[in-house]
Subunit: 354 residues, 2 copies
């Protein structure tokens, strides 16, 4: 039985299309001897597309995207120097719109060190943890406003909205993931200040902990969590946290693990009512776009997460192992930094094929 | 003319009283040949006091505190294992109440490396920046609520409140500080998502920048700021940011600069309508309390910030120089870690006296 999956491919802006192209080659290699085929449909979206057509994300495009089994995403975002593009428009009307409309309530950001790949930390101990970030609530709901804007009496508010429905489902997912990892969960919040939202999160974790005696858990304030991420990241297994704290912690995690260029992510609709999306944590990096020097590793690893999500665990494992082996080989001969995008893609492809 | 300043001294819980005692000895030494005298009044506050008396911070106590010229604060907070103390009660009803009631709108957290003192970062470049955190607004206003609590329909909200008044005054202060430092400001926010609050902050910085041609500025999202804090903290001079982002960034800053045990802070009422407060960033560390091993450096440096605030710049400079010289001497003979609280205090005192 040959399974066919239909994949929406959104390269986006800057280095996005470059890294996604390599991810696709790696996917094809990983599936060569599998009874599974990916069929790609490319969608042009992002700031470039917006400048040309005025579309950030039309409802018709969204409806088409819904029909796919998964979305492979590069990166979007304008050159900050480009004054034609209003700040935040593609972020909100495209990226966040996708997360909210497709109900991507589980934002997964696995973080690990790779043998031989240096990190900015002096300590060289390895670590491997998973951040499960909520993706559809918190301060990201766009529920703010301003009054007397531009006057000395201006008031601007932002409302963080948190529901039992929204918190329970992501906490449940985090416990399941912890159970199949090292069995530990850290809830990160700021419940000494944000008492209402923090209370809801905390009670939700307590309830799930009662149902999962095999999983231990602890609580950490977001400020303290940044200290531990720098001082002893080994202590983390699964971190579950809200949308904004997750945003902050995962960039920090990317930094301490050796570079945001290697950090993959998955935005998952755990109920299966819409396609999930897989994308590097890094942005569109307009400063290095078009030069063929962007590191495709994060996109390749995100593609691996996509295969895992589609149930193609064998192929997913091949991608991950190829990346790990190749990165450590490059590290041994100090070659990593000088390599181009395609050269890296080639190397991953041939590792998979051997 | 001998000036006399009246100082409220709040040791608090855990290691708080231990480190404040050393700070006081250092203050006395620094003022020995100055025409200035500090008169101390001790206040018993914190979780220990709450357990004994039921007081977190009575209005009468607050009124007495208002009469002082400054407040020297240790740390408060219960042992997390101690189930008699409801989570967050001293944080909100004492610490945050002081900040809000005394209108401590400028929360200063200078961060620097010290020669010879190691940091968790592999790169050994020195850095020296100042975080100016807003202290009376943002998500800290306690403006949240919950509905259908404890049911599957629970909704919990937290409202971040930001006013032109509140933002302008702290931004103005940050520009003044930048002008007397290296002349650069970084605004940290998340205006691509928190558009209303972020817009107010951004416009406020733009307006002040127009009045300060000698100060350059840039903008950074909070998530990106955590990356730079780990990757190239040298790039920062003055960071101005909101209450929650400042909380997160300054713990991270404390961590990357070589330990939260050395990070001082000042909560300043810039209008002079109430006393400002000076305290270490670290907490009460119940696990090491009473053993005489807590590092008093952060408290000593906070005391130095207090002298500066009182206009006693000569004495303030003596404290800072004593700490720097002493830390690098300890580092040279790798002695730092084994020293006790009083031993460190002694060393700072004798440095100042020579
Ligand atoms: C681009 C931005 C809206 C987004 C976020 O804040 O979630 C990004 O930082 C991320 O982490 O995916
Ligand atoms: C104790 C807590 C309320 C406080 C804060 O969040 O401001 C602390 O973390 C700080 O940074 O001073």
């Amino acid at each position: 039985m040959n399974q066919t999956f239909s994949i929406a491919m959104i390269g986006g802006d800057g280095i996005g299309p470059e890294v996604v192209a390599e991810a696709r080659r790696v996917l094809d290699a990983a599936l060569e001897n599998e009874d599974a085929t990916l069929r790609y449909t490319a969608y042009s979206l992002g700031t470039g597309h917006w400048l040309e057509t005025g579309e950030t994300l039309h409802d018709e495009t969204l409806e088409k995207l819904r029909e796919h089994d998964a979305i492979l995403f590069g990166a979007v975002g304008a050159d900050p120097q480009d004054k034609r593009i209003p700040s935040g428009v593609v972020e909100r009307d495209l990226l966040l719109k996708l997360r909210f409309e497709l109900d991507h309530y589980i934002n997964l950001r696995p973080t690990r060190t790779y043998p031989g790949v240096s990190t900015p930390l002096a300590a060289t101990d390895e670590f491997d943890f998973l951040v499960v970030r909520e993706g559809t609530e918190g301060p990201y709901v766009g529920n703010g406003g301003s009054l007397r804007r531009g006057t000395e009496h201006e008031i601007a508010t932002e409302v963080s909205v948190n529901t039992a429905h929204g918190v329970q489902r992501v906490v449940a997912d985090a416990f399941n993931r912890a159970a199949s990892r090292r069995g530990h969960i850290t809830l990160v919040h700021k419940h000494n200040v944000l008492t209402h939202a923090g209370g809801l999160w905390r009670r939700s974790v307590e309830e799930h902990a009662a149902r999962h005696p095999e999983v231990s858990w602890n609580y950490m304030h977001i400020d303290a969590a940044t200290i531990h991420m720098v001082a002893d990241p080994q202590r983390f297994d699964v971190i579950v946290t809200d949308n904004l704290f997750g945003d902050i912690l995962t960039d920090l995690a990317g930094a301490v693990s050796g570079g945001i260029g290697m950090a993959p992510s998955a935005s998952i609709n755990g109920a299966g009512t819409a396609p999930s999306m897989f994308e590097p944590v890094h942005g569109s990096a307009p400063d290095i776009a078009g030069q063929g020097i962007a590191d495709p590793t994060a996109a390749v690893l995100s593609a691996g997460l996509m295969l895992e999500h589609l149930g193609l665990n064998g192929a997913a494992g091949r991608i991950e192992r190829a990346v790990i082996t190749q990165l450590s080989e490059w590290a041994e001969r100090s070659a990593g930094t000088a390599l181009g995008t395609a050269e890296r893609g080639d190397a991953y492809v041939s590792r998979i094929k051997t």
